[in-house]
Amino acid sequence: MKNILEVTNLKKKFGNFTAVNNVNFSLNEKKTIGLLGPNGCGKTTTIAMLLGLITPTSGSIKIDNEDLNPRDHQFLSKMNFASPYVELPKKLTVMQNLKVYAMMYEIKDPLKKIEELIEKLKLQSLIFKKTGELSSGQRNRISLAKSLINDPQILLLDEPTASLDPDTGDFIRTFIEDYQKNNPISILLASHNMNEVKRLCDHILMMKEGNIIDQGTADQLISKHGRNNLEEVFLKIAREKNEN
C-alpha cells in the first residue's frame, strides 16, 4: 500500500516547553489515522506542523516520499484542512467562497468541481446564502466542501463534528466514509468524539504531553487497556495525567 505521509522524530519546542516530542507515524493511501489525547497534548501542534503553520524544531515530514520543504508551498496543493474553529469569510456567499478557493488551488474546471461538491454535500439550497447566515452544521459542510476543492491526497480534520447535533454529525461522518471509499484520500483526524474516531479511523495514535504513548486500532487499544470502550481508554489516559 502506498505510503502518503511519513513523519519521523517530529519535535517542537517552545522555549523550554516541549509541545511535541519525537512523534513518528505513517499514513497510507485511503487510510485514516486518528489523533487522540487530552487538551494540550500536542495534537494541534502536530497538525499545524504538517500544514506548514509551525516550523518543527527537528524531525522530518515526507509527503508522497518527498521531504516537506517549508519554503516550497507546492506541497500544500496536495493537502487541505477543515476545522469548525477556522471559518470562511462570513460576508461572502457559499458560491463566492468556493470560487475563491477553487481559484486559489488552481482548479482546472472550478464550476464542475463546485457543482460536484454541492451535490455530494447537499448544499443546493445554500449556495447563494452568505456563509455567516448559516447554522454551524451548514458551515461545517461548507468548510468540508472547501477542504475537498483540490481533491487533496491528505485531508487534515480537526474535530469536524464538534458542537453538531447527532444527525448532522452522522451526515458528515457518513460523507467522509463514502468520499474516502471513492477517492484516493488519506485522512488525519483529531477528535474528542470517541465514537467518531472508532468509526472512521483505521489506526489511532494516543498522545499525551507531546508524546505518542500508545497506538493501534480501536479494538486493540480497548483490549490492551482492559476497558469497555475507547472513551474509557481516553479517560484512563487523561486521569493518569492528572495523577502525575
Binding site: L53, I54, Q74, V86, E87, P89, K91, V100, K130
Partner: protein
C-alpha cells in the same frame, strides 16, 4: 508566483466590497468629507494669505495627496485585518498561496480600493473649488507612485506587526500614519521644522514629495531631484518593509502564533 492565486485573493476582497453597501460608502465618504473640509479651509487661506494666494489650492492638493497615502496604507491594513476578523487567515496560510502572492494581492487591491475612494473626491473638488490636482501635470503621477509605495511600506510594517503580535497590534494599524505625519511636512515646508529634526524628516520620502508638490504649485518649477530622492528612499523602505514582513512570518511560524492569530 502564480497570477491565478494572486487574483483569487483579490477576488475575495472584490466580493466583500461588492456585497456591502456600508463598505463602499465608507470608502467614498471619508475622502470626500476630507476634500470638502480642506477645500473650504484652503479657500479661506487664499482670501487672507499672500503665500497661498500664489498657488490656489496648495492645502487642498496636499490634503488629496495625503489622503491618497492614508488610503493606500489603511487599505492594505484593512485587507489583512478583514482576514483576521473573519477568522479566515488559517485557510489562506494552509493553501498554496505564498507570502509574495499575499503581498502582491494586497498591494494591488489596496490601490484599487484607494482609487475607488479618491476618484469621486477628486472630481467633486474640481467644480466645487475650481481646483484640480491634475494641474501638477506629469510629476503628479510620480508623486502618487511615491506616496503609494510609502503607504504600502507602512501597510507591510503594520501587517508584520499583526502577524508578530496578533490582533492587539490593530490600534497601531490605525495610528501608524499619524506617527510619521508631523515629519512628512504635508501642510508646511521643511524649513518650519527645528534644525535638529530636519535630517530625520528628510530621511523619509514624504518630506521630499510634499516639498516638490509645493514647488510645482507655488513656484511653477519641477525639481526632479526631489522626486528621484523620494523614489529612491521608497525603494529602500519598501525593501525593508518586505524583509520585516518575511521575518515576522518566519518568527510567527517558529513561535507557533499563526495558529491562534484570529483569537
Amino acid at each position: 508566483m502564480k497570477i491565478k492565486r494572486i487574483l483569487s485573493l483579490m477576488l475575495r476582497h472584490f466580493y466583500l466590497i461588492k456585497g456591502s453597501f456600508p463598505r463602499i460608502f465608507d470608502l467614498i465618504y471619508w475622502p470626500t468629507v476630507q476634500i470638502i473640509l480642506w477645500g473650504f479651509v484652503s479657500k479661506f487661506f487664499t482670501m487672507y494669505s499672500s503665500y497661498f494666494g500664489n498657488a490656489v489650492g496648495v492645502i487642498l492638493t496636499a490634503a488629496i495627496l495625503y489622503d491618497f497615502l492614508f488610503r493606500s496604507s489603511i487599505s492594505y491594513n484593512m485587507l489583512f485585518l478583514e482576514e483576521i476578523w473573519s477568522r479566515n487567515l488559517i485557510n489562506l496560510f494552509v493553501s498554496p498561496l505564498r507570502s509574495s502572492e499575499v503581498i502582491c494581492a494586497l498591494t494591488s487591491t489596496a490601490l484599487l480600493r484607494t482609487l475607488l475612494g479618491l476618484i469621486p473626491a477628486v472630481f467633486i473638488a474640481m467644480p466645487l473649488f475650481n481646483i484640480s490636482i491634475f494641474e501638477l501635470g506629469f510629476p503628479l503621477y510620480l508623486l502618487l507612485l511615491s506616496l503609494y509605495m510609502f503607504g504600502i511600506t507602512l501597510g507591510l510594517l503594520v501587517t508584520a506587526g499583526l502577524i508578530r503580535f496578533g490582533p492587539s497590534f490593530e490600534n497601531v494599524a490605525w495610528a501608524s500614519l499619524f506617527f510619521i505625519a508631523p515629519l512628512g511636512c504635508i501642510y508646511y515646508p521643511v524649513d518650519i521644522l527645528p534644525e535638529w529634526i530636519k535630517p530625520l524628516a528628510l530621511s523619509f520620502p514624504l518630506a521630499h514629495i510634499f516639498e516638490e508638490m509645493r514647488s510645482i504649485l507655488v513656484n511653477n518649477t519641477v525639481n526632479f531631484k526631489n522626486i528621484l530622492i523620494a523614489l529612491g528612499l521608497n525603494i529602500f523602505y519598501i525593501g525593508l518593509g518586505i524583509a520585516v514582513f518575511y521575518k515576522a512570518f518566519k518568527s510567527a511560524k517558529n513561535r507557533g502564533t499563526l495558529v491562534n492569530i484570529g483569537e
